[in-house]
Amino acid sequence: MLQVFPDLKGRYGDFGGKYVPETLMGPLQELEEALDQAMADPAFMKEYHHVLKEYAGRPTSLSYADKLTGHLGGAKIYLKREDLNHTGAHKLNNAIGQALLAKRMGKEKIIAETGAGQHGVASATVAAKFGLQCIVFMGEEDIRRQELNVFRMKLLGAEVVSVSSGNGTLKDATNEAIRYWVANCEDHFYLIGSVVGPHPYPRMVRDFQRIIGDESKRQFLEVEEELPDRIFACVGGGSNAMGIFYPFLEDSSELIGVEAAGKGTDTLEHAATLSKGTPGVIHGSMTYLMQDENGQITEPYSISAGLDYPGIGPEHAHLFQTKQVRYEAITDKEALDALKLLTQTEGIIPAIESAHALAQAFKEAPQMSEEETILINLSGRGDKDMATLMEHFQEEV
């Protein structure tokens, strides 16, 4: 039987824990107690599932990509369509769960960090829906790159705070959100967007995202009567991957997490934390991260703002160490090629993040037999990436 992670100290083997200033220990304990009570309360879980169904539009489809499968040859390819979730990505599943918890705890104000803006939009959305005030911290460089999502958040009524420290990206936005929470934890709920941060965040976000894997398993068994041979998901912080992997951890399916190799893992410009990073502490958690020889955290690079993060969730670090999940890395170019292929064979424009998972699957599918099956978590849609895509494909279309 699989050991249950995290343990009582919030550890996944060697990883996880709570590496935070003393001022956050009280609020984290309060959160953990409230979370445990909520998850054990059938009424809370019923409301969560009700909102997912009636508001977010779940369950999302499982689509057989027949034309793509024919084009590549080899394994049959299925897509878990998180792009069809309300607001366009898996991020909303977690935001709904945490917003309901914030309300239950009597916190009227939520704070969130965002990179690409998807989690910021999801947070602003649930804040509007549940009548909460929302402040989103976003790096100034990301604000420039994701103008459209910034406007969406503001239209939804959120305040967007520009973060200029560091390189002005997700890492810095997360630092600033944590600092703000330290000073305002009495009446603010910090709604983290990925399976990162101090315990109990990685567990909470995983448990609010496992709906992806739970649905996939049921849907896959319905159409194929057996589980997929391989499951692919992209990994930045790693919430969509933990969400789809978690219910399959004890099964026979091979699980593959795909990191961003940026301009190549042999260059300095990538975000391949597990492939190239080393263990350490980032944002309150022991995990793998990208750092220099003095333990200073370095800036990652990826064309996809959602994967542009120098750390990774501690449970992924554990699954990497125990080899329960295989991790690969895909370059910007490979991701863009995969994005274009899916778009032109299936009429689905994926997020550039999700295209990393596609690219790895497309490499492996032709080498597999026609009896084998692949499931790819299509974590979000590409609408937010149009400006980037126009830059790259303008002359080709």
């Binding site: 100290k9 824990g17 709570k18 590496y19 935070v20 200033p21 003393e22 001022t23 220990m25 009280g26 609020p27 420290s165 560091g166 890492k171 630092n175 944590i178 600092r179 330290v182 934890c185 009495e186 080393t278 263990p279 350490g280 502490v281 980032i282 944002h283 309150g284 991260l289 750092q291 020889e293 003095n294 333990g295 200073q296 955290i297 370095t298």
Partner: protein, 266 residues
């Protein structure tokens, strides 16, 4: 009553402590030495020597800026520790507490890190992102080497206060800006009862930090606690001298800094 404070016998006072904070290498290692000596002359009892970090979660914008300047000057955890013997050679006698985030410690490795601290004569250690539950191993290693591991308590530490205070070494760092920031002339009732509660359980001096920036604050805190920790304000005083420093007017910068410190803590 307060018997446990020693810092290897170098700290004999247990009240009215002045504990300043400097970021090593801000704006250069040489100037850190000069500022530290001036602080000692103005009555500093312990020096907190901060190690610059790329992602200082517990620090506000002032100390973040200082860290950026220090990183630019090439500072690292190893170099900050190696600055301590140079401080000694220049005449610093008060105990030094190395203040560092945990990740750089992990990259050196616990054993080598403690060897470095010992070899370079460091008396104390403070790791702001290593709360009580995560610090067992470090605390026991520090004890073995005779290095005081400084703990922090916050107003929302609640039932954790007793456990943290009872295990405190050196001095106990009370994180409290409650009632001492801004224009208030008196401590808030919450802040007072918090400090009282901490003192009840602590066998080492209780020092209050975060947000102390005027002589009024200093006087106020002295009435209730055993010491004041001053960080950001000192960094801002250094920032105010950056122009003098850049233009080579070192003596003027140091004189001015000293005068400001004197007014702050007299």
């Amino acid at each position: 009553m307060l018997t446990k404070t020693s810092f290897q016998g170098k700290l004999t006072k247990t009240d009215n402590l002045f504990i300043p904070f400097l970021v090593a290498g801000d704006p250069s290692p040489e100037l850190t030495i000069q500022f530290a000596l001036r602080l000692q002359e103005e009555g500093a009892d312990v020096l907190e020597l901060g190690v610059p970090y790329s992602d200082p979660l517990a620090d506000g914008p002032t100390i973040q800026r200082a860290a950026q300047r220090a990183l630019k000057s090439g500072m690292s955890l190893r170099k900050a520790i190696e600055l301590v013997p140079k401080l000694r050679e220049s005449g610093l006698e008060i105990p030094v507490v190395i203040f560092t985030y945990y990740n750089p410690v992990l990259q050196i490795g616990h054993d080598e890190f403690f060897q470095l601290l010992e070899q370079n004569g460091v008396e104390g250690l403070l790791i702001p992102d290593l709360p009580f539950e995560e610090s067992m191993e470090i605390r026991s290693q520090a004890e073995e080497k005779g290095i005081e591991f400084i703990s922090l308590v916050a107003p929302n530490s609640d039932q954790r206060i007793k456990q943290i205070a009872e295990h405190a070494k050196g001095f106990l760092y009370c994180v409290s800006s409650l009632g001492v920031t801004g224009e208030r002339k008196e401590m808030s009732a919450e802040a007072l009862s918090f400090i009282e509660k901490v003192r009840e359980h602590s066998q080492v001096p209780v020092a209050v930090g975060f947000g102390i920036s005027t002589n009024d604050h200093v006087q106020l805190v002295r009435n209730y606690a055993d010491g004041v920790i001053i960080g950001s304000k000192i960094i801002r005083l250094i920032e105010a001298e950056l122009e003098n420093i850049e233009e080579g007017r070192m003596d003027e910068a140091l004189e001015h800094f000293t005068k400001e410190i004197r007014e702050l803590v007299q």
